[in-house]
């Protein structure tokens, strides 16, 4: 199998921590310098020192027609790698050699203009994604059919529902016919139906002999699609190889528990101009984080965030995953929220989760339809088994949850009701 992508010792250095990650203002720079020239120069030198190697000496090859998954926890460098491959940003050292056109889907709907109609946006977005005009014209009908929004094709997309918007955006992306396709977490948004459709389309792409690099936190999607997986952590390749092997390793060792995440500076906090996350943490009844969470420990998950849309009708969804598979989702009340720093807390009862490693994904939704922000795997925590007195079996209980349900024993000879009134047993251990 010939290599279509060869990555040689790729590294990327970011300068971070500067008080103005979004570019300061000239006035600030001048003012700082005027006030205290020495301090300002030292600050600049300091700024230079706050370095972060988002990729360190990464090398790998991808064969033609392969679908390779990129996995790793937040900040591992996955998006950075994809950005270099799609030439959005340049590597600091190292080099990449690739053959053919690269289509990158770091998000869908890039460059959609709200004032333009669906039809016009197909052309605009297609061109932005690198499609030739004839190519777009040729696929135009197919794209519209796939999107299922024929009726609104001549309506400005600002009047679309977010679902329609996503459908159109994905329909265009799905018809991108580059030799190499780069996909970053675009499956993270959208409803289940939409995700299924996306996955199906991704599967088709394989059969066409195209090469795909696929970043996801959804291990089931990775398992279903990828023939090979590269696991990145802190900018370095931890393991690369056969999917099942790497995914298993990643799930076992990779996701070290993160019980707390705090971003103090709204400028660097994850989010966007609508909402920004300030912190996420797992709370235990007794404070002290060193305490393990046992199967029978109730706990709470707390999020703090800045809301820049005062009065917006928001609600929060927490998705719980284990081994990359969804366990459940739970949503907060839908109601208008004030602006400013807010907190949401959700309680998880004792005797509900199994002894597993769980990860929490948080989603902020406006008007119950529009995802404002989604943070995959913001927290990971491990639930430990408790000593089971009088139980001689030490094996693991199968299942992703382990509810403590009521059982009753009856003597059939004594008759008995079809419906047994029961009280949930008090917790034994």
């Amino acid at each position: 199998m010939p290599s279509i992508i060869t990555v040689e010792r790729l590294s990327k250095l970011y300068h971070i921590g500067a008080s103005n990650p979004h570019g300061g203002t000239l006035r600030e720079s001048v003012r700082d310098f005027a006030r205290n020239p020495l301090a300002s120069l030292m600050k600049m030198a300091e700024r230079g020192r706050e370095e972060l190697w988002s990729l360190k000496d990464v090398s790998f090859e991808v064969g033609q027609g392969e679908i390779v998954g990129l996995i790793g926890s937040n900040g591992a460098g996955k998006s950075t790698l994809l950005k270099i491959l799609s030439r959005i940003t340049e590597p600091t050292t190292g080099r990449v050699r690739l053959y053919g056109r690269v289509g990158s889907l770091l998000e869908v709907g890039t460059g959609f203009h709200p004032e333009l109609t669906g039809r016009e946006n197909i052309f605009l977005n297609g061109a932005i994604l690198g499609m030739r005009r004839q190519e777009i014209e040729r696929k135009f009908d197919e794209i519209i059919a796939f999107s299922e929004i024929e009726r609104f094709i001549d309506t400005a997309v600002k009047y679309y529902s977010s679902g329609m918007y996503m459908r159109l955006a994905f329909a265009i992306a799905a018809h991108l016919e580059t030799e190499i396709l780069i996909v970053d977490e675009v499956l993270a948004v959208g409803d289940a139906d939409f995700q299924k459709k996306c996955l199906g389309k991704m599967g088709e792409v394989t059969n066409e002999g195209r090469t795909v690099l696929f970043v996801s936190h959804n291990m089931n999607a990775v398992r279903a699609l990828c023939g090979r997986v590269i696991w990145l952590d802190k900018g370095e390749i931890v393991k690369a190889g056969e999917t099942e092997q790497v995914v298993l390793n990643y799930l076992q060792k990779g996701a070290a528990p993160t019980l707390e995440h705090v971003w103090d500076d709204p400028m660097t906090a994850p989010g966007n101009e609508k909402v920004r996350l300030r912190s996420a943490r797992v709370r235990l009844p007794e404070q002290g984080r060193s305490q393990p969470i046992f199967v029978n420990t109730p706990f709470q998950i707390e999020f703090e965030f800045w809301n820049y849309l005062p009065g917006a009708v928001l609600n929060f969804t927490m998705h719980l995953y284990t081994q990359g598979a969804p366990v459940f989702s739970t949503a907060s009340e839908v109601k208008p929220r004030p602006g400013g720093l807010l907190r949401e807390v959700v309680s998880v009862p004792a005797n509900f989760l199994n002894d597993e490693l769980y990860s929490v994904t948080i989603q902020v939704v406006q008007d119950t339809t529009e995802t404002l922000y989604l943070h995959p795997e913001v927290l990971t925590f491990e639930v430990q088994d408790v000593a089971r007195p009088g139980d001689n079996w030490f094996g693991k209980w199968p299942g992703v949850i382990r509810p403590n349900l009521a059982w009753v024993s009856q003597d059939v000879a004594k008759g008995g009701a079809a419906w047994v009134q029961m009280i949930r047993p008090s917790q034994s251990s």
């Binding site: 010939p2 279509i4 970011y14 990650p21 979004h22 570019g23 300061g24 203002t25 000239l26 006035r27 720079s29 033609q64 950005k83 270099i84 491959l85 799609s86 030439r87 959005i88 940003t89 340049e90 590597p91 600091t92 050292t93 190292g94 080099r95 990449v96 050699r97 690739l98 053959y99 053919g100 690269v102 990158s104 770091l106 998000e107 890039t110 460059g111 203009h113 004032e115 333009l116 016009e120 052309f123 605009l124 061109a127 932005i128 994604l129 690198g130 030739r132 005009r133």
Partner: protein, 306 residues
């Protein structure tokens, strides 16, 4: 550290570029089974030959970016056109009334409203083009951080879209010239020269500003003030004839002098002042080179810091 770009590898043997005809024969050379030479992505220390080749490959995107800007502006056709035309037209009227009170402006017998409109339409184009071009990177941040294309396309597309506006205000100019029965001369053939100069001058300044704007957002605030000063230092609402003779040469160091005066000379058949036009041309070339240089030097980090 230098600028980094992806270059199409020139080390691939010519045989590897076989293309369609050679596809069936066994492939040779570094490209293996692939018909095109590889794209190499690496940090380079060179100024990347302006990415002209990449620009050419992305010419359709350039077209669509211009098309987007124009389409959005003229979405409501009448409103769009009115808006574009109104600015130089009302300004011309205002200055006509102002100067009717405080004294005549020497215009070589050209009716003052027409004289002022010719200057103002160029100036509105110039100021507008610089403002929008200066904002073209920051305003398209969502593109810059999500897809690749030669970044130069953004300022170029923005200026190009502005040229469409210039076309619209030109129609009004023609109307005014008919209304005032201005006789046309062979000088009109030279009219494209000042238009060309002002376009590239706006591009040069805009390129530099768009690059700086990524790092220092508040430069956008200082610009309107500077542009206002520049306007009054340029023969927009008056002519070179209003400037004392001895100062005219020094005054012409402003590249807008040669451009606006040259434009008027071609419209109204007056004499060209070639030295000042040469100065404009020289400035335009210098600013274009410097602007492109400043832009290319910074573009390496656009996606990282925008």
């Amino acid at each position: 550290m230098g600028t980094s770009t992806a270059n199409h590898d020139t080390t691939a043997p010519a045989g590897a570029r076989g293309g369609g005809l050679l596809r069936k024969s066994p492939p040779t050379g570094a490209s293996g089974p692939f018909k095109d030479p590889p794209v190499v992505i690496e940090p380079t220390t060179f100024w990347s030959a302006l990415e002209l080749r990449e620009m050419w490959l992305h010419r359709e995107l350039l077209y669509f970016l211009v098309w987007r800007d124009v389409k959005v502006r003229y979405r409501q056709a009448l409103f769009g056109i009115t808006w574009v035309v109104l600015q130089p037209l009302t300004m011309a009227l205002v200055f006509t009334f102002v100067f009717a009170r405080i004294g005549r402006i020497p215009t070589n017998d050209v009716p003052y409203p027409l004289f002022a409109y010719a200057g103002l339409m160029l100036w509105t184009f110039f100021a507008g083009a610089i403002a929008t071009t200066g904002n073209s990177l920051v305003g398209n941040a969502h593109l810059v951080t999500k897809v690749y294309f030669p970044r130069l396309l953004l300022p170029v597309a923005t200026v190009a879209a502005r040229l469409i506006d210039l076309g619209v205000v030109l129609v009004i100019l023609v109307g005014l010239m008919l209304y005032y029965r201005v006789g046309l001369t062979a000088h009109l053939l030279a009219a494209p020269i000042p238009i060309l100069l002002i376009t590239f001058l706006a591009l040069g300044v805009g390129l530099w500003m768009s690059a700086v704007n990524v790092k220092y957002r508040d430069i956008g605030i200082a610009i309107p003030l500077l542009m206002q000063l520049w306007m009054f230092a340029s023969p927009v609402v008056y002519g070179l004839g209003s400037v004392p003779k001895g100062l005219q040469r020094a005054f012409s160091l402003n590249p807008m002098v040669g451009i606006i005066e040259g434009f008027r000379a071609s419209l109204f058949g007056t004499d060209f002042d070639w030295p000042s036009m040469l100065i404009s041309a020289g400035f335009t070339v210098l600013l274009l080179i410097y602007g492109t240089y400043a832009f290319q030097r910074r573009q390496r980090t656009f996606a990282d810091i925008i």
